[in-house]
Amino acid sequence: MKSLVSNKLSLLLITLFIIPVSLKATDWSCVVNMSGSWYFSVGDDPSWANPKTDVSGWDKIFVPGEWEEYYKDYNGYAWYRKNFDMHSYPENGKLILLLGKIDDVDEVFINGIKVGQTGSFFPDYHTAYNIDRKYNLPENLLKPTGNVIAVRVFDEGNQGGILSGNDIGIFYDNDYSLLSLDLSGNWKFSTYREPDVTEKRFDDKQWKTVLVPASWESQGYANHDGYGWYRKEFTLPGNIKNEDLYLSLGRIDDLDKVYLNGKLIGRTEDLESYNRFNRSNAWRMYRIYRIPSKLLETRNVITVEVYDYQQQGGIFEGPIGIVTRKNANILQERNEDEYWPFDVRSIFQSIFNW
């Protein structure tokens, strides 16, 4: 999508101000750097996701960069493959895969297992060319040696491929090691307002499943602005039952109300009156809400109502999970947004005690 026409261009200019800032470098440490040479082939074949498929005869191209540098005027499907080892392997915490911006749609496999997709292929095509790719890696997926990553990419036209990004590879998320209970991953999601949606007994079986954290635009809700509801059930681990606990929801675009077992426990609002120029900057705020201990049961349900003004929406950046008070303080310090000094935080956020 090389030459953006005027409306796209203006959109791009706007995004400089309202799209989430890039991920904080301090929270990630690089485990495997994947910038550099990758195997590459035009075409499309599901067997290329299989690590056993021999690709030694494929071309090699440099990542990141537009594939037109090698394959001028090429549009359509192409695959990238790379072999890698895990020289260091953190004992706990979370590994994520960053692939920068991919034009237009991608689907990623590691050791033959699909780890994620952004955008949508034909027949329901949606581009995701302006979204930074970030995929949570499941545990027990990676081996010390002989790992294979395969990235299937579709480009509708103009620039194509794994285009750009300072960080391409596998990263260790320092924040996740602080969580007592990791709640990232599959959540239930709906864009329709329904009665009793915040109640624990509400039946969300018919809802779609989405990944958290990630924008809803990257998961089949392209161009959706307005409300979205997330639900997640969890069982409280016995070892933290008596702790003072906090719920970390990372960054949410734009506003949220958070319920635990039917009761509102926190919310982030946007106060137009505070400063009209700063309206819709609530997405920068790191969300962490105290969990009133008397609301907790063995089985619990969180409901998050999100309102998105425009562009990307949803719970888009972690860490997502439950932390003890001590670790909550560390997370808050690490993730505090320089944009909003601590003293204005209370203007935006209300935390409810029950």
Binding site: N7, G43, D59, Y70, E156, G157
Partner: protein, 324 residues
């Protein structure tokens, strides 16, 4: 009229400027066999034109002894295309023709600009660049070119410009070549009562739809021999102005740009490769529809080789074409 002609010619390109920086070319300016009148037999490869008069090309036939003649006339020529032109796209350039022409290579129609009576429209200001279907080329042998021209008034014939066959990009050789005659009608869907033939690729403005913007459908059938659907196939739909949707056997395969025309993007610069899901193609007769939306200016399937290619051959082609 000629003064205007020069000014307008810059906007008349149906094949992008890059394609006319030929890798190499055969100049075919010079004396061509020429005869006034009209006869479909004259398109044929083996037609004996030895008693025809010779006219210089390019030049208005008024300057070659046909002062005051308006109406039909044919030009014929035979040229050798050496095998060193293999593996390249071939473009037949015929400069500017006043007013309407229809071109045959080895007896096969490969292009048309303007529209003949009774639905006459001129294309005098369009530079003639015709994609040559490579499956009809005789390398290292003589190839016959026949050009049927209709002139409504004043200067007529192949009047000016470059007359040549140029070798362009590395060619892709489809397993089923669909460059050539298609059915065409304006509107969003196939409309049997409006269907007429059109040459693909070629902008529709030069083929009877002067100044037409909006929706149109290209359609045709093709045959896949039994046992030849081995692996994945790619449909090459060429460069399309502006947006399009591809259907095979009634099934939606893919689209480029916003067919509903709500959002503009410069997809007219892009060559389409549509990957056909398994199970769509069947042995025997298959149908293809390319639905096009053109917002303004040139419209239609403008350029490129059109057809089906196996993914294996498709990958081989791109490896060969890769920038070194």
């Amino acid at each position: 009229m000629k003064f205007i002609l020069i000014a307008l010619s810059l906007t008349g390109l149906s094949i992008n400027a890059g394609a006319t920086d030929f890798y190499k070319e055969i100049n075919i300016r010079g004396n061509w066999y020429f005869k006034i009148g009209d006869n479909q037999e004259w398109s044929k490869t083996n037609f004996d034109d030895s008693n025809w008069k010779k006219n210089y090309v390019p030049s208005p036939w008024e300057d070659e002894g046909y002062q005051g003649y308006d109406g039909y006339a044919w030009y014929r020529q035979k040229i050798e295309i050496p095998s060193s032109f293999k593996d390249r796209r071939l473009i037949l350039e015929l400069g500017y023709i006043d007013d309407v022409d229809e071109v045959f290579l080895n007896g096969v129609k490969i292009g048309q600009s303007g529209s003949f009576p009774p639905y006459y429209s001129t294309a005098y200001n369009a530079r003639r660049l015709y994609e040559v279907p490579l499956n009809i080329v005789r390398y290292d042998g003589l190839n016959s070119i026949a050009v049927r021209v209709y002139d409504s008034q004043l200067g007529g014939g192949i009047v000016s410009g470059d007359i040549r066959i140029g070798a362009s990009d590395i060619s892709i050789s489809p397993d089923i070549n669909l460059t050539g005659t298609w059915n065409f009608n304006t509107g969003r869907n196939i409309n049997d009562s409006k269907i007429q033939e059109i040459i693909v690729p070629g902008r529709w403005e030069n083929q009877g739809f002067y100044n037409y913007d909006g929706y149109a459908v290209y359609s045709r059938t093709f045959t896949i021999p039994a046992n030849s659907i081995k692996n994945r196939m790619v449909f090459l739909a060429g460069r399309i102005d502006d947006f399009d949707q591809l259907y095979i056997n009634g099934k939606f395969i893919g689209q480029t740009g916003d067919y509903e025309g709500r959002e503009f993007s410069n997809k007219y610069t892009e060559f389409r490769n549509y990957f056909i899901p398994e199970g769509v193609l069947k042995p025997g007769t298959n149908t293809v529809e390319i639905k096009v939306y053109d917002s303004t200016g040139d419209g239609g399937i403008l350029e490129g080789t059109i057809g089906l290619i196996s993914q294996d051959n498709f990958i081989k082609y791109w490896r060969m074409k890769r920038n070194r």
